[in-house]
């Protein structure tokens, strides 16, 4: 009995299929609560006015955008080392979610930037490295789409994901070196002084939980779809031969 048992596609589908609806509805419920709380029942900030409300979308999506990539990196490594198909397909399934998360973070950030910094876009390190992340996502999905053979695609995208991660970290450092920036420093730090006031923070935590849960539900569902597509492909190929 090990966790790798779930790397069997059939076992994976059998286990996750009943879970997905619960996770999905749970995620939707928590997100709704979090966003309604944030939108209707929090005060405006002294300096930022009502725009703080963007916080409840911006921060969770930005966090997820990064975390999804990390998850893809881990899944890629697992595929390369242990060659479990499910992990490769999970990485494939996660990428579009990562793209949407990145888009939300970019959009909300841009909309927030207009009143705060007087510009939609600035070449601030945080923003810039996010744009680079977006490009990595695009390249990664484009590579998946371009390769016919699924195992070849899994191998190559995994290699790309690993090399890309190294360069993403490098870019982050380079970008910091290049420009000091306007963006908020990380406020999730343990240093109490810096923390965002609790009124803003609690609904944000709920939203973060909702985003995480939503991601889990979607990844499971999409991975199952990918598995089914592979199965379909396999059956069709066998029927032809």
């Amino acid at each position: 009995m090990s966790i790798w048992e779930y790397a069997n596609p059939k076992k994976f589908i059998a286990t996750t299929t009943p879970l997905v609806p619960w996770l999905l509805w749970g995620a939707i419920a928590i997100l709704t609560v979090g966003l309604i709380w944030g939108f209707f029942f929090t005060p405006d900030d002294v300096r930022q006015g009502s725009t703080v409300k963007i916080f409840y979308l911006h921060v969770p999506s930005a966090m997820m955008a990064i975390n999804v990539w990390i998850m893809m990196l881990i899944a890629s490594l697992v595929w390369l080392v242990r060659r479990h198909h499910v992990s490769a397909l999970a990485a494939k399934a996660a990428a579009p979610i990562g793209i949407v998360m990145t888009l939300i973070a970019l959009f909300t950030g841009a909309v927030w930037g207009q009143p705060m910094w007087g510009t939609w876009w600035a070449w601030d390190p945080r923003l810039t490295s996010f744009l680079i992340l977006f490009l990595f996502y695009l390249g990664y999905t484009a590579l998946w789409a371009a390769i016919e053979d699924p195992d070849t695609a899994a191998d190559l995208t995994s290699v790309l994901c690993i090399v890309g991660s190294v360069f993403a970290v490098l870019s982050r450092y380079a970008v910091n070196f290049w420009n000091q920036g306007l963006h908020q420093p990380a406020s999730l730090s343990l240093d109490k002084e810096e923390n965002v006031a609790d009124v803003f923070w609690y609904p944000a935590l709920v939203c973060i939980a909702g985003f995480v849960l939503l991601f889990v539900a979607l990844v499971l569902m999409r991975t199952a779809s990918e598995i089914r597509l592979r199965r379909m492909r396999a059956l069709e190929a066998r029927m032809r031969s």
Binding site: A110, T119, W120, W121, A122, W123, D124, T128, L131, I132, L135, L138, G139, A142, A145, A146, I147, W178, N179
Partner: protein, 218 residues
């Protein structure tokens, strides 16, 4: 001829998002410019019209070399030459297919990317207009260049070399239109020039391209 257009578009889609990629390159060039030039907003806004046009041009350029190369390698081109289609029509359709897969998505995306370079708001309409009118010329000129260099291994770079000077007038008028727009002036005259170039290209270059193809197939 419609069959050819349809096939080329199908191939573009099948080969992993032929539509998205020209676009992606455009995006990337625009993103790279600030990395090179630095993040100051005023500098970027100043060079935005020019850089947007240069990037569009490079994005169009980079996808040119395969307009005919693939058909040449797999032997389709001699077969098309002996088919009832006039080679002029083939060249025209290849140009159109290239525009649909590159110029069109590029034009649509350009205003979005204007943000990244802090393009001044008054320029967006002119940007859209000049690209919509100008990119067909880029595609057609590129088709001619591709026809001349088809069959050469590593023809890609040589083609760039041939095509880029031909791109200069379009680039000058196109970016001038956007620059005037950004400055709040009227840009009708450069715009008309761009339109004129495009019309001229479509009227004449298919014949030149077909002639080049015939020579290359010998």
């Amino acid at each position: 001829m419609i069959a050819l257009l349809k096939r080329d578009l199908t191939l573009a889609v099948r080969a992993g998002g032929g539509f998205g990629l020209g676009l992606a390159f455009f995006l990337i060039v625009i993103v790279l410019v600030p990395f090179g030039v630095g993040p100051e907003a005023e500098v970027l806004a100043r060079i935005a019209p020019g850089m947007l046009w240069v990037a569009a041009l490079l994005a169009a350029l980079l996808s040119l070399d395969r307009i005919f190369a693939l058909d040449f390698e797999d032997g389709s081109l001699p077969l098309l030459a002996t088919s009832p289609l006039p080679l002029e029509g083939v060249a025209l359709m290849k140009g159109v297919a290239h525009w649909v897969t590159t110029g069109l998505p590029l034009t649509i995306a350009a205003p979005l990317l204007g943000f990244l370079l802090n393009l001044s708001p008054s320029a967006y309409l002119w940007l859209l207009g000049s690209l919509a009118l100008g990119t067909p010329a880029l595609s057609m000129i590129g088709t001619f260049g591709a026809a001349v260099t088809v069959g050469l291994k590593r023809g890609g770079l040589l083609m760039s070399l041939l095509v880029l000077p031909l791109y200069v007038p379009t680039l000058i008028f196109g970016s001038e239109a956007v620059r005037r727009g950004a400055g709040g002036f009227d840009a009708t005259i450069p715009m008309l020039m761009v339109a004129g170039i495009t019309l001229g290209c479509f009227a004449l270059l298919p014949f030149a391209a077909a002639a080049a193809l015939r020579v290359n197939l010998r």
